[in-house]
Symmetry: D2
Subunit: 375 residues, 4 copies
């Protein structure tokens, strides 16, 4: 169903975005000066669906007509206007950074993409010149910013990005999958960093990134993959994505259960993707001595950490993961998608952009994987 | 069929080896003083099936009743008595090192295994005290020797090994698979050393180790696996073991074919398992720049090597593989076998030990995978 | 001075230990049946200097006549009988695990060392057969125990160890340095694990292991090494061992100071060797994004940890260090000592074993590096 | 002497290059339209010192007034017009790629450097968009070209480079050192790739890159560094740069000599920087089992390689090195130079650009390290 929808949407999109079969560099196709977008108009809870100006382009920028965009966990913080959101965002702002679409216009200095190209976008803006960018770590650029957080984002008909942030998608990638390349990239980066080949892997937290990680870990050669969550809906999705076993951590002792599944040694790799203090505790406790633990889920505050038992005595290797490598992770992701990685079941709902209130309600309830909005 | 046979053989073996349900340490079960074995009686071609004494045990040795043993490529060199064999072997000698069976007797200083245990054996003898043994590299021990080459081997009813060389098999592992743990271990070590997760992998040379490598690379998360050989019988086996594509290198340009399969970049990983100068050349030439190439197949002599184009300009990483890590590779192998690695199709023939002439003829002809002999 | 002392002590030791020029395997030299040792006689604070039986040997054991032993931070916990000590120790017990000496007797199954050999000892007892031992991680053996904690230790005239735990020292190594091989090995393992070549390195906590780490990091090619502590005596030692700069963290903002020393990026490597919550916080906060942080110092309890800022957003790599690799670290340590690593200034005091009360008072006051006791 | 010269040259250069204290972006300082350069005017041996036009700038290009440039081994091939040169170069061409100088003019799209900046240049031109550039391997870009080989080079008063290839030098770096950043970068990349911390290192071939490697390996924490060459002049330089021992390989058996220096095991790391078949043979033969060997020196043709003994049985890790990482290696190099790496003795001669015939004669004779030419 999702695929049929994607095909239709893409066809429709292709009709709309590029007028007159226009393709390649040259005069921008005629576009409305305004567009609809999800906007945080001022400090405080909520979002509005409003008409805003299409963003102007700098010489190295591109304008992308959005075909699909997906709701990130961050959006819930922004919607609710919690402490983090209040401290970071400067409204008015068009939110969100996960999307795909077709290039609708390019600045005069752009020649790496052309109007009509089907693209996703790396949401981390980077300077290209700092120590980190120059040493293959642009994703932790010293001057890094995030679209939809620090600049206008993609819950809109059009989004502006530097050409250097665009990633050309294979035409065969459905928009729902193109839209989640950013979080899927998180999962790919986490799995590759953890080196799962032939290893038992526990994924603690089966939100969308955790679900992607289940599928990626299997495809990347994990000996076995275990999904842990409190949410049975998501555990069912994890099973559909290839988890060898799932553990409902509010109903049983996840540490004991996973140790039982691993000859008593615990998994060689744990991917912490819940961000919950209890999940973090379980992740460290179940980890095999000498094992590798990825921290990706962001806890709401400092966590009581038993560094001695969890890390030192175990000789654990703890790996922070933030974003994804630009573009090493993207190439790996494309290779995996071309060769059998299937994350379609991660996307469970779609709505039009205007239906965002319904979408956020579904998200808050938790009976969902990834939710895609179509502008 | 192979499985049925294995089950039967194991049952039969269990009856024969351990008399009176004896199990555990204690008085050795009564055994004949002589046994049948394949022996190189003196320098020169050929082998004989002869009666020889059962080897005596040192305090840390074990005697294993062999349930299955497999023919290694090395045996062909020994059979034919080529220059390498003539320079290395000191007949009379019982040959071969690949086997599995049940412990029939143990020396007084042995407590890690017990009579009746189902085991395979690491064929590399190691001192445990040299620089290499003490730094996790016992497989390249300074005083390393190989059973069946430097000491009496396993083409016999019984084989003697130090307890430190035994590996307990899960009871569910069929003898035909137990017997090939040594070459399968080569493949596992090569694949793990090459890091194949999410990478395209070409296996050059689809002999038994290459065939194992095809299956292991797939299981360990390769994006795609390509098998290259001149032998259509073996290429068919490679396909059955999961190769995404196979290339018959005497009929088409293997380098061009594999580049076509990899967007023109060449595979990120190449496993050279042919030992043929032409295979080695193709392996290096097809390798992607910045890629990883494992050398495992042993060429008959020095090879004209274009170090500049093959390694330097490419910034290739070339990894020699000799044996397998003791016992890191064995643990990884067991984990993979328990979680879906299936190499049963690699074993294509079985014969009784006395039928060895037929077996060697089949091997010389090449229409086979691995050949197992049953004492 | 320390060296002159060591030379003398060694000469004296050589005279005393081995009677009649006896060397090699054979009848054990005559020894008293009792010896003096530092003993925890029963649960509760304090230690006593008392006469206890010389320990009997198993077939694979060695008896070492102790030439020098050093006080470990652990001893203070044992001396004071804190919660950890009360939960772990089972008195009566001879304490301590850091020592060197000469082999005085060997069990019948021992042939890797001979009476008269000059040795240090790995303090972690390991089974040699578990998953960890078989995969090159014997230092985190599933059945690991520590001498002086779980079995009788080396604050005594003689100590018993399995032959597998002995490390032959070059005769040129002074006993004071031989005695601290265990903690020096911690530092070597930490530095090698962190990969310091060409990198800026901050050592947080300049106790004996931290001081060793300063010297090792310099010798191992760190671009610059910074020592951080609250103790000016130890910071002066750190400078003597090659620190490029030292920071007194109770007098200035260590994070700001170290960032100033590293172009504002923070050090690429941080070695946390204080175990203090404030030191741990500073260690994480000063770490460069994308950097590597070793945790070795053991905090007294759980620590409030800002996993998001300290690890996740930074993409930090956090490496627990427990003990040292057996014997990869020992070989590396020997190579470094032979080629210029000088940690003699780490040892600042020596006392006879009977003067232990004075020694513990000096340690409690903190105006010391490592303290060596001579039985 | 070299430093005094450098200071003078820099001062003189500073006067000449930037007129009127001009600094920063803005109107280009007045420059002659022509300049002197070393030119290969047409296919065939030899070079000429001739007047040629100053190259015009594209929008992202910079013009650098060359303060110092150094002769690369490649130049000898070009000078002599050997088979490689004839197949690769398309005269007329200004040769050479190693230089430093000050930015004299910038294209309109350049803002990362300004007129007056003191810079060296990465000699490998890269596209920034191919698979290799996007995965942190721009130095092996799919469309890589080399200045002075594929485009006009730096043996000239001015050289044109993309702004993306410029590296800002610390003002304290003497021009003679700035000029050799490219080959020094080769050495730094080779040493970092080989991981020398605490390891014995043999450098086979003590030409300029080998000499740099001796110094870098010492600074980067090698346990010991051995220099091997046939040229006593260069071995003396190697000693001056910190080699613990040197071996004259035409006078003694280098393999045996280096094994003697390494307890019989051979060095853990070998850096092959000679490109001579005999050097390559010695490099592989002396390598410790399990060791790491960097191939950097480019042999004149295919080499008879004993893959079995040299790589497979040894489980060697062979690492090709081509160029240096852009700009990870440059950052590492700057860090090392700031913290004590001294390669000044590598530069033994300087001449004016017009004296190039004398310089090439010195180079051909071999009694030199690096030769610097001053335009």
């Amino acid at each position: 169903m999702a695929e049929a929808w994607d095909r239709d949407a893409r066809r429709a999109g292709a009709r709309t975005i590029v007028t007159g079969g226009h393709r390649g560099k040259g005069p921008t196709p005629s576009m409305a000066e305004n567009m609809f977008a999800l906007v945080k108009p001022a400090p405080g809870p909520g979002l509005v669906h409003a008409e805003v100006p299409v963003p102007p382009l700098g010489p190295r920028d591109c304008l992308v007509r959005v075909e699909a965009a997906s709701i990130c966990g961050t959006d819930l913080h922004i919607y609710r206007w919690d402490a983090w959101a209040a401290s970071r965002l400067r409204p008015p702002l068009v939110v969100e950074h996960e999307f795909c679409g077709r290039v609708a216009a390019v600045g005069p200095g752009v020649d790496e993409v052309a109007v009509g190209d089907y693209v996703a976008g790396e949401g981390h803006l980077f300077c290209g010149r700092c120590y980190f960018c120059q040493t293959g770590q642009a994703h932790i650029c010293a001057r890094g910013r995030i679209i939809g957080v620090d600049t206008d984002g993609c819950f809109a008909q059009f989004v502006r990005l530097p050409a250097a942030n665009l990633w050309k998608l294979d035409e065969g990638v459905p928009p729902a999958i193109g839209a989640i390349h950013d979080p899927l990239g998180n999962a790919v980066h986490a799995v590759m960093r953890a080196r799962v080949s032939g290893a038992s892997v526990a994924v603690v937290g089966c939100g969308p990134i955790g679900l992607c990680a289940v599928a990626v870990a299997r495809r990347a050669g994990a000996a076995a993959v275990f999904g842990i969550d409190v949410n049975p809906y998501r555990l069912a999705l994890a099973q559909g994505l290839g988890a060898d076993a799932v553990v409902r951590s509010d109903a049983e002792d996840a540490v004991a259960a996973v140790r039982d599944l691993t000859d008593g040694w615990g998994p060689e790799v744990v991917l912490e993707m819940s961000g919950h203090p209890a999940g973090i505790r379980a992740a460290f406790e179940m980890l095999r001595k000498g094992g590798r633990l990825v921290l990706l889920g962001i806890p709401p505050g400092p966590v009581e950490t038993d560094l001695s038992s969890w890390i030192i005595f175990k000789e654990a290797r703890v790996l922070g993961v933030n974003g994804r490598r630009i573009f090493a992770t993207w190439h790996r992701m494309a290779e995996l998608l071309r060769t059998g990685l299937d994350v379609a079941p991660v996307v469970t709902h779609r709505f039009s952009l205007a239906e965002y209130e319904t979408a956020f309600a579904v998200l808050a309830e938790g009976r969902c994987g990834k939710i895609v909005l179509v502008p």
